[in-house]
Structures are given as structure tokens and as C-alpha cells.
Amino acid sequence: MSVDYSKYLRMDKLPLYWCPGCGNGTVLKALLTAIDELGWDNNDIAMVSGIGCSARGPGYVNFHTFHTLHGRAIPAATAIKMCHPDMHVIVFSGDGDMTAIGGNHFIHACRRNIDITLIVVDNWIYGMTGGQYSPLTPTGTKASTMPRGNIDPTFDVVELAKGAGATFVARGSVAEPVMLKNYIKKALEHKGTSVIDALSNCHIQWGRRNKFGDPVKLVDYIKSVTVSQAKAAKLSKEELEGKYITGIFVDDPTKKEYTQSYKELIEKAQAKA
């Protein structure tokens, strides 16, 4: 069944500000399709972002939208969820925003297990500022501030989120948008902090420096470096070098959700008072 996206988009704000072929649109479409399948009301959704290309995403959708400072989407999203615990709160921001300048907030949101969904639009680069390397820029590849190739090791967003205590963690990519949509849908339904590492293409700032200036070529490349969990299980450590495993890595509904804990704290305080 086709989705009427005009129900979710602020049509008067189009066209999108993103470069033609940008993966941000694919990730946003996956999110809106997941929301449509869930049948959520726009009034019940808040979408928050930091700074960067993908962080402009919330501006285009007809939800409660809040475009904060670089790296600071998560504390704002946490506050909105605490103020309105029955709202659906989504953070939609980039890899630099979420894992570098906002890294502290990212791990602490996972630790609290507050019911917000963190979508890391992971395009391996700081796009808006001109292609500087991020904590997710593959080692050895070029960036405007790593002209001889990146010497920094990268974060594995999945392991980072797992280690910090997130109770739903999945990785998908724009090369397989239906699968990405399915993971996002599961993340949205999950009660607790859910993290989606959404591998995305920035053929302009990452691609042009690394012989992938064409969006189709880059999406094909992303596809070639991703492997499903089932396939990965059959590969050796050497064969998995440089590969991104896709799938759902954590789905734990048993850990207590933070707004629930806070609600119980209020009940305790009020019973005593």
C-alpha cells in the first residue's frame, strides 16, 4: 500500500535542502513509512535534532520539531519525553552530532533506558561543514581534514550503544531501505532507548574524496560492505574486516524504562508527603 507522505511532510517547506541523491531522504522516508505503518498521530510525535545535514530533517515533518545545538538533541529529547511520557520522541541526527560532540549524551541516554529512538544517520562524514572526518569515517579513507587518509580508528555504533545499555540496537542501510524501515519500526515500538545505526550515502563530501562521487555507485559500495548477521556468522574475523553487520543486535524488553521509574518515584514521594 502506498503511503500519502503529504500527511507527514510540511509541503510548504519543500524542496528538501539536501543534495540530489542524498541518503538523508531515504532514511527519512524509511522513518515516515514506519510511522505510517504504526498509525501514529502527528500530534503524538516529537522529532529532535542537533546540527548537520540530517539534522535539518525534522524541519520537513509535521510533528513537534526542535532543531537544537550541535550535539545537543538528546538532552532536549529526554526532557520532552520526561514532560510528556506518552509522546513518541525521536532523535534524527548525524554521526558527528551523535557520536562526537554529542557522544556523552548518547551513552547516558542508553544508560538510562529512556523511551526515545535515536536514529544515527551514519554517512561517515561531517557533510555540512565540508567533509571533515567524524568518529565513523572509515580508517584509511579521505576527508577534508584527513587528506592523506584517516588514521583514526572508528566507533562501532552498535557496540557503543550495547555497552552503554541501550535495550534495542539495530543497523541497517540506505542500500536496503525496506529492511531499514522494518528496523526503525521495531525501534519505535520498543519501550526503552532504541538505537538505529542507519548507514547512509554522502557522495558529495565523503564520496567525491574517495572515488564514489556518484550516489548509485556509493549506495552499491555500502551494499558491498554490509553483511547480514546470518552471513556474518559464517565469515572469519579476517573476512569481516571493514564490513558492517546489519540486523537487530539487542531487543530486550525486560530492563526498566526511565519514565516508568520516574513515575514510581513520584508515587513514592507523594505517598510519603
Binding site: N43, F63, T65, P75, N104, Q270
Partner: protein, 380 residues
């Protein structure tokens, strides 16, 4: 009706916040502000509000801004180093035009400085700490009871003008224990943000043409049905980014004018024994208490001296100081720093008065005796 309590300045700020309707507090531990979060961690759940200790100072101010966006009256508290970290967030609240109260319990600096000792050295940081052109409201209570009443006023001004308000207390006021008669809350006017009454699809958070210079902003009850966008970028009336030079400049000017055009409502100051005075002391906050003692002592010795005390310290009471400069040949500026308000007094007095100082940045309060000695020296 009033309540008599033994309390310190930090606890009074916390209680006043609750009385003013604050239902969201986010903070990070920092001396000498700690009793504010400690008290609110007990009290907020009792009144059904949110108390959260965040991972850092930045997260705290951003969470408070997020809560304000979501319709809640919100507050964060800190001290000098934390205020430095929160400054980008304070600018965000200025740009988004969201009500917010930031308490700064001033301590010595720069850097880690003197965590447990008093200072008034954040006076200029309060005004100019965040980048970009902006106007700020900052209030400096001087006594225990004022920490209570001025906290309520801080919330009222934040809500009324859709702006961050800084409350500048200090390590002495924070930890001064005393008997305080807290007036019943019915004695206070509690101001709430103006509510939109238009259909949700017609509401925009910066539609000044339709709503006037300070557009309405949904409270927590109305928030769900009014969906709107906010950004830290220069924005148009809909809340969306714009680089249109004309719109940007108009908006920047309006954000300053919404405060400066209402200065009569925002300003607050005290004239103490100035009517027949020959010499004037200008002091604020804790230090004004020392100045008051010095003035009474000087008066008992027959020296005619008075005090002008800004309570709203920003915007600076420029017109009042200019008028005073025409009357007083000699003005003594005293503050617990190496001279910050001094620059404002020099600017506003336009060379009319000779300006003397009693300044100190040693981590200890200025003693009344130090101010008295300067009064005597100047009066000779």
C-alpha cells in the same frame, strides 16, 4: 499568612521556584549551588514535577530548554565554570525565545578558581557570555528573603518576555542560614506565558505581525495540539531558518526591543539614604549588605552618604545612573571582583562624577569597614 523558616539562600531559591510554578529542573553537581538540586530532588517529585541530574552542565541547560519548549516552566542552577559551559544554551534560549531561569551561584574564578568562596565576578559573563547580539535579564538578590522573592520575579519575567533570565546569587548568600518569613504565595502575582487561541494550523511561534512583539507560547496543557518548529538558526515568523537580511535584522532588533521597550517593567533598584547625600555608593547583591552597614556607620559619624542598588543588574540601569551622576560629584563603586559593573557606571555617568572603587577578588566578602574607610577618605 506567612511561613517562618530557617533556610539558606539555595534552599530559598529552590522553594521559590516551586512556588513560581517551576516543574522541571535539570542540573549537574557544582559547588556552591548543591543545595538547590538536593532540595529539588526531594521536592519536585512531591509536586509531580521533574528533577533530573544530567551527565553534564550542557545537557542540563539544553534539557531545561527542551522542557520549556514542551510547555514547562524550567530551571537549571550552576556556578561560574558551569555557567561558562551553559552559555551556548543560553544563546539558544535567547534565539528560540523560550522562558528559562538560570541560577548562577557565583564563586571565585577564572577557571576552577575558588569553588567554596564568594565572588561577583560573573557580572559581565551574565551579560556577554553567549555569542552574538542579544539582550539578557539578570537579577541579583541581596538578602535571604530576596533570594525567594526575586526567584519568583525571575520566572515571571522569563514567562512574560519569553527569554532566559539569570539569577545571580553567590557563595555567601547561598550558604547563609537565617530566619526568613516567607510570604504566602497568594501575595505574589504568578505570570504564565500567554496562550495561543488561534486554531493550531494558524499558530506560528514568532508571528509578530499577528500576535505582537511577544507572541503566545503553548503551555504544557496546550502543547500537544500546537505543533511548531524551533531552531537556533535565525528564523522567520514560522520558526524556520531564513537568511533574508531584512527579516534577520528586524528579528534581531525585535528580540532586543522586546526587553528594552519594557524596561520600566523589568528594572528594579533601591535608593538607600540618597536624598540628602553628598557621596553615593553603588553596590549590588551580597556586597550591598556590607555597603548598607558602612553607610549607616558613616551617617552616625555625620557623613552624608547613600546607596544606589541595582536589583535587576541587566539591563544596566543606565538612565538612573546618568541622573545620579548629575547629582553626585563622587561615586564609589564596590563589587566583589576587580571591576566589572565599574565599566557600566563609567559609561553611564558620562564623566560627570569622579569614580572611586572598593573592589576585591580574594574569595572573602568586602567588609563594611573597607567601604567605610573609602567613604571617609572620599568625604574629606
Amino acid at each position: 499568612m506567612s511561613n517562618v523558616e530557617i533556610a539558606n539562600g539555595n534552599e530559598l531559591v529552590a522553594e521559590a521556584a516551586i512556588a513560581a510554578g517551576c516543574r522541571f529542573y535539570a542540573g549537574y553537581p557544582i559547588t556552591p549551588s548543591s543545595e538547590i538540586p538536593e532540595h529539588l530532588s526531594k521536592r519536585m517529585p512531591e509536586v509531580g514535577g521533574v528533577f533530573m541530574q544530567f551527565e553534564d552542565e550542557i545537557a542540563s541547560v539544553i534539557a531545561a530548554i527542551g522542557a520549556s519548549y514542551a510547555g514547562y516552566k524550567s530551571m537549571t542552577a550552576t556556578s561560574g565554570p558551569g555557567l561558562s559551559l551553559k552559555q551556548e544554551g543560553i544563546g539558544l534560549a535567547c534565539m528560540m525565545e523560550l522562558p528559562l531561569v538560570v541560577v548562577d551561584v557565583m564563586r571565585g574564578g577564572p577557571s576552577t578558581g575558588l569553588p567554596t568562596r564568594v565572588s561577583q565576578a560573573d557580572y559581565m559573563q551574565a551579560r556577554w557570555g553567549t555569542h552574538g547580539d542579544h539582550m539578557i535579564i539578570a537579577i541579583a538578590p541581596s538578602t535571604l528573603i530576596e533570594t525567594y522573592t526575586e526567584t519568583i520575579r525571575a520566572f515571571n519575567l522569563a514567562e512574560k518576555y519569553r527569554t532566559p533570565v539569570l539569577l545571580l546569587t553567590d557563595a555567601v548568600l547561598a550558604h547563609l542560614h537565617g530566619r526568613v518569613e516567607i510570604p504566602d504565595i497568594s501575595n505574589f502575582e504568578i505570570i504564565e506565558r500567554t496562550q495561543p487561541t488561534v486554531p493550531p494550523e494558524e499558530y506560528y511561534p514568532y508571528d509578530v505581525e499577528r500576535f505582537g512583539i511577544i507572541p503566545p507560547l503553548p503551555n504544557k496543557e496546550n502543547w500537544r495540539k500546537y505543533k511548531f518548529h524551533m531552531t537556533g538558526l535565525n528564523k522567520d515568523k514560522t520558526g524556520f531558518p531564513t537568511v533574508d537580511s531584512k527579516k534577520v535584522e528586524e528579528d534581531e532588533e525585535r528580540m532586543i526591543n522586546k526587553i528594552m521597550n519594557n524596561i520600566k517593567d523589568i528594572e528594579s533598584f533601591e535608593y538607600y539614604r540618597v536624598d540628602d547625600a553628598d557621596v553615593l555608593v553603588i553596590a549590588y547583591g551580597t556586597n550591598a549588605t556590607a555597603a548598607r552597614v558602612a553607610i549607616d556607620e558613616a551617617r552616625s559619624k555625620g557623613i552624608k552618604v547613600g546607596m544606589f542598588r541595582p536589583i535587576t543588574v541587566w539591563p544596566f540601569p543606565e538612565a538612573q545612573v546618568f541622573d545620579l551622576s548629575k547629582k553626585f560629584k563622587k561615586i564609589i563603586v564596590s563589587e566583589i571582583n576587580l571591576g566589572q559593573m565599574l565599566y557600566e557606571v563609567q559609561r553611564a555617568s558620562k564623566g560627570n562624577s569622579e569614580i572611586f572603587t572598593v573592589l576585591q577578588a580574594a574569595g572573602v566578602p568586602i567588609r563594611p569597614q573597607q567601604i567605610l574607610e573609602k567613604i571617609e577618605e572620599v568625604s574629606k
